[in-house]
Symmetry: C2
Subunit: 460 residues, 2 copies
């Protein structure tokens, strides 16, 4: 193996780390559609959202104009504990694939929460603390977001109440214990603690819960406890804003070595990682300064971009949250039980949805067996055990690199490696034992779900 002068891993120095987040909405000609009150069909403003979200976060949510938003010093100090994350040149993967492509990945898994979620968790916890609140509530499915938020709250001395989907609570006791290590209270959802929880348990005794139900409980708990607010780990504009630190670091690291990517690839569930990774590159594209191919990768079993509708829909299955205009499979859509890993959200970030709708990015969907094949190949040569979510991006990065092998093109590919798979070994085991299968929803199934999309006058 011979190596160019670009190191295996590019780490920015502390003084090179971003001091501001980048708000891609400022450069969008068509802004993302506003959140809307399902009862009235009118856009929700600052006052409408204050009962649920922290003040400063609402301002960030609604701000479509400010391009650079300063990262408060306290958050920058916290970032220094686990950031900059390395931008890795995948020399070993390139050699394994025998491709002329140059592959880089931004690895966000080197913190205890195991994923990029911490970038927004600390920001949201910080603003809650700043506002003098006592604590925050949230939901978690697989547990990455809940873990990240627990870490952030422990650091700031803030209460953290996590509603964890019951089936995950029982099947992933380790995740639960990590959150407890950080002092969070973790409640299996649905629970008897909330009105909506009791109602659901009465109607569906023995239910193992869903993310939608956990969201509803977390929102209710926030609204009904003075000094608490609700926080969310993806989808929202504010989350993409905080996650822009991923893309800003990536771009700074590439710029340092004079590297310009041709293709940027990220996995997409609610869109927090992808939105963050592509932010500054998309900015250049929107301003007409440079062009990039930007590819969102989603599971074939939950294909909101590639097979969803661009429409107003509920953010939760319990239909208590505002409506957002996004690519959606319908708020009642739940991916097949054979789907492993995250990326199971029925909708997609309104910002990314608008960008996709405007033809500024592409999307592909991939089946999970092909994803785990890529994950295993990647682990064996690059050493890192990737999360199933992240492995969607690995799959497509490898596919693009193999195309380069055929054409002989020396493209530069950058992808986001959002996290590690330590808590996903049950899925890996299925894969090793040949027991993993693929499921792609039929057009009929999707149509049934689309039929239930809300019809709000004036919002067709």
């Amino acid at each position: 193996m011979t190596f160019e002068k670009i190191p295996y891993k590019i780490y920015l120095a502390e003084e090179e780390m971003p001091k501001t987040w980048y708000n891609v909405r400022a450069d969008m000609k068509t802004k993302p559609a506003p959140l809307v009150n399902p009862g009235t069909g009118t856009p929700m403003g600052f006052e409408d959202l204050r009962g649920v979200f922290c003040d400063e976060l609402i301002r960030q949510e609604l701000d479509n104009d400010t391009r650079e938003i300063p990262i408060p010093q306290e958050i920058r100090d916290f970032y220094k504990m686990y950031r900059p994350s390395p931008l890795v040149r995948a020399y070993c993967l390139e050699e394994k694939l025998q491709t002329p492509a140059k592959i880089y990945y931004k690895f966000e898994g080197n913190n205890t929460s195991g994923s990029h979620k911490l970038n927004s968790a600390i920001a949201q916890a910080y603003y809650a603390k700043l506002q003098g609140l006592t604590g925050v509530t949230t939901e978690t499915g697989a547990g990455q977001w809940g873990t990240a938020l627990s870490m952030a709250c422990a650091y700031l001395g803030l209460d953290c109440k996590v509603y964890m989907v019951k089936v995950s609570y029982e099947q992933k006791p380790f995740r639960r214990e990590v959150m407890r290590t950080y002092g969070a209270s973790v409640t299996p959802s649905p629970s008897m603690e909330t009105e909506i929880g009791r109602k659901i348990l009465q109607e569906h005794p023995g239910t193992t819960g869903s993310l939608g139900c956990a969201i509803s409980e977390a929102v209710e708990a926030a609204v009904s406890h003075p000094g608490y607010r609700y926080v969310l780990g993806s989808v929202l504009n504010q989350v993409l804003l905080h996650q822009s630190v991923i893309g800003l670091e990536t771009k700074a690291a590439l710029d340092k070595y004079g590297v310009t990517p041709d293709i940027i690839i990220g996995c997409a569930g609610g869109g927090s990682n992808l939105g963050g990774l592509i932010a500054p590159f998309m900015g250049e594209k929107l301003r007409g300064e440079r062009d990039y191919r930007i590819i969102a990768v989603e599971p074939a079993s939950c294909p909101s971009f590639t097979r969803g509708k661009f429409a107003y829909d509920f953010c939760d299955t319990g239909m208590v949250c505002p409506l957002a205009k996004m690519y959606t499979l319908g708020s009642g859509f739940i991916p097949s039980a054979n789907h492993a890993g995250g990326l199971r959200y029925h909708g997609m970030s309104p910002v990314l949805s608008q960008l996709y709708h405007d033809g500024l990015m592409e999307a592909v969907s991939v089946e999970q067996t092909r994803v785990f094949e890529a994950a295993e190949q990647f682990a064996r040569v690059e050493g890192i055990l990737p999360a199933p979510e992240s492995s969607h991006a690995i799959r497509v990065a490898m596919d693009e690199a193999l195309k380069c092998k055929e054409t002989g093109e020396e493209k530069t590919i950058v992808f986001g490696l959002t996290g590690t798979g330590y808590f996903d070994m049950v899925a890996y085991e299925k894969f090793h034992n040949g027991e993993m299968t693929d499921y792609i929803p039929t057009d009929e199934e999707l149509q049934q779900s689309f039929d239930k999309l809300p019809r709000i006058p004036g919002l067709e």
Copy 2:
């Protein structure tokens, strides 16, 4: 919080990474005692060890004279995939403790094996490959070493056969699946695959296995399969040599900022991490250039340094391996079942044993509940979820920092944070639920074990 100019994390640049390992034996006035044939009582030489170990590794094992041993380029390239590991300034922990002490830790957990073990695994796999071997065998208990070796073998295309203590195989299925992801074959031990395994199963049907038994099976498998050799993750001189990369990086990072530690602290089971961390500092001490306090931390339930005998003993409980002169609790000693985490080896690296015997380092033992208290406090402020093993060092680093608080001394403390605790959540859960207890072996128990130490003529 205000911060000095020393960054949160010091990363060396690629060109600053060590190009040679440092062999502390070259600077020892009293060399570690040689491995001895239990039958004859004579030191084992190159030819005696060839059936079990790779040639180059035997040379390293026996070499007490060469101070600097070049790290082959291929190993340096692999190191670049996950090294340099960060040297972290524990600003948040210092503030939490309100101590004037300056605390640094070298974090070795940022690779998929989750620990420092990879530093030696890749070296041992490399030399096996270089010799044209087909594969290697080893044993693993909790699984860190087995995982590390699997990763290294996957990278080099070498077969990897791991005998995993049966109780761990069953209780830690995730660890097993990580190894399988890297293509290793993992066999619960004792197994029907080896003579010794069959013998043990016949004598003790239903046994859940032990590390000693797994070692015996792995050695037998290596010896009886052409093209295979046995490799080991700790205790041996060669392992400490490879692990010196930890200390060399630590020293280079400190030197870069003009920092000189007063106290260096590491946890000690077989001694691989501690021996590696302290190597260059001990070298200065041995050469009379500078003085440091060096502290080994061991579990109160397995106190080889603090309560063991300095004597020749078997390296395995099956008594098939050579004898080593070391601090030992007796090869039949097994820590109480309530002991969580690793550091359960009955003996200690012969190099470290000699250094301790010569008064060049100190040792303390700590009870596990105090260890987990420290682990949780550390996680909450520093973000990283530490392995129980590593948390022994955290405990004593915190204790030393609290002493500084009392005296007002601004000591500089460096400790080794060997790995992450993602696979140890069962122990954390016990701790959270108040179910964790401490067990300290009685003098009588230890004496019974000492009574069984081998008596080889001429080796008293």
